[in-house]
């Protein structure tokens, strides 16, 4: 087993709240070190109160244990602070396909007007905000004025 193979295994770990994304798609898997059968992993939360962090740590341990890797240390780091810019291109496409609009722009847009480009279902640009907060802290709620479906928007952050 080498470091690359371990990263491969970790890329199977999904975010429990958005199960189409892996923790590497989401950019919350920060570093992986492997030496003398000891694995050191750093993860970072998307938001300070993200309730998924403990489940994610358990899932990482469970996934590694499947390969007999039990000597694992997982550290939660805060700096540098997570940003939606760390969501991979593949991750953004998976979000769209899942029905969640991906962050429309660079995180610095979070300070000004931040809205999805289009409806992830019918791609209409005729959309409006329902609420600044959606099902989790990282999302806002929108509705499409053409297909009439409500949808989540993963905010620039």
């Amino acid at each position: 087993m080498n470091r690359e193979e371990i990263i491969e295994i970790l890329s199977e770990v999904k975010d429990p709240e958005i199960p189409v994304l892996t923790i590497s798609d989401l950019g919350i898997l920060r570093t992986v070190e492997y030496a003398d059968d000891f694995i050191q992993i750093q993860i970072t939360p998307t938001y300070s109160g993200c309730p998924a962090m403990e489940t994610i740590q358990e899932d990482i341990r469970t996934e590694l244990a499947k390969y007999g890797l039990n000597n694992v240390e997982i550290k939660q780091v805060l700096s540098p602070a997570w940003t939606s810019d760390w969501i991979s291109e593949a991750g953004k496409q998976k979000l769209q396909a899942y029905g969640i609009a991906a962050p429309a722009a660079h995180a610095c847009f979070a300070n000004g007007e931040d809205r999805p480009e289009s409806c992830p279902l019918c791609h209409s640009k005729n959309i409006e905000m329902i609420s600044r907060f959606g099902s989790t802290a990282c999302k806002a709620l929108y509705r499409c004025l053409d297909c009439r479906e409500p949808f989540d928007y993963f905010k620039c952050h």
Partner: protein, 257 residues
């Protein structure tokens, strides 16, 4: 306890107590979307509090060999007079207008504070603030919109906002009156004196109040309050809040699920 630890606990207490107050809305919000909004803000604040408590616990254990304080001890096993939060954040929620106005006042303060603490010489404080400021910016966006919506809407919503101002304004002065741990944190380059945030706080708050057609605030007004949450001299409301929030850890010490 050393003064810098108290400074960190002060930040944690503000976030925890307001987070708890906001969480009282969960299941009771005026409409579902706003119930979710205020609950999400509660979650962010409790998350921020947790990061500050972990840092304070780490520091206390470092400075006092043999001590084994954990984050939960600080949140759930201290008594009212050991809490260092503003009176403002412990006041009962009241109606939606009072909840919104309080969140707005606090978010403006938190934003200015975190922005300064990004330069804290104590890098762990800077790290927590770098993480939290993005959340606070969003809380401010949301609460500012609500202040304008309620202030400039119907007669009833305006009356409720005026009542909220009457209830909350007397507690603003405390935010800017420095206490010992703020002097110490500032001397160490780890913190900032709150009076340095005062002018900008009033500017930002009054700009939104004006848009909302609500009376603006005067920084000159003297406070006659004898209470100081930062010094542990709280209103009667904190005791009731703690009785509920701390019940489980008090009744079943160390319990987990």
């Amino acid at each position: 306890m050393d003064l810098l630890s108290n400074y960190i606990i002060h930040q944690a207490d503000n976030a925890l107590i307001l987070g708890h107050r906001n969480s009282e809305w969960t299941g009771h919000g005026p409409i579902l979307e706003q119930d979710i909004a205020i609950s999400n803000i509660a979650l962010d604040l409790i998350g921020q509090a947790r990061n500050f408590y972990q840092l304070a616990a780490y520091r206390i254990n470092e400075l006092n060999p043999g001590e084994k304080i954990a984050e939960d001890d600080l949140a759930y096993l201290r008594d009212g007079n050991e809490f260092k939060n503003f009176i403002l954040v412990e006041l009962p929620n009241g109606d939606w207008a009072k909840t919104i106005l309080r969140q707005f006042y606090f978010s403006v303060f938190q934003l200015l504070l975190y922005r300064e603490l990004l330069n804290s010489q104590y890098s762990e404080i800077a790290a927590i603030c770098g993480k939290s400021i993005k959340e606070t910016r969003y809380h401010l966006k949301w609460s500012s919109e609500w202040v304008v919506r309620l202030g400039d809407s119907t007669e009833e919503s305006k009356t409720r906002m005026l009542n909220a101002q009457q209830a909350l304004n007397p507690w603003i002065a405390e935010l800017f009156l420095p206490v010992d741990f703020e002097y110490e944190a500032t001397a160490l380059g780890a913190g900032i004196l709150p009076e340095d945030l005062k002018e900008e706080w009033y500017q930002r708050v009054n700009k939104i109040l004006e848009t909302a057609t609500l009376p603006i605030l005067s920084a000159e007004k003297k406070s006659m309050q004898l209470l100081s949450g930062k010094k542990g001299v709280h209103s009667e409301h904190l005791g009731f809040l703690l009785a509920e929030m701390q019940f489980l850890q008090r009744a079943y010490p160390g319990c987990a699920w």
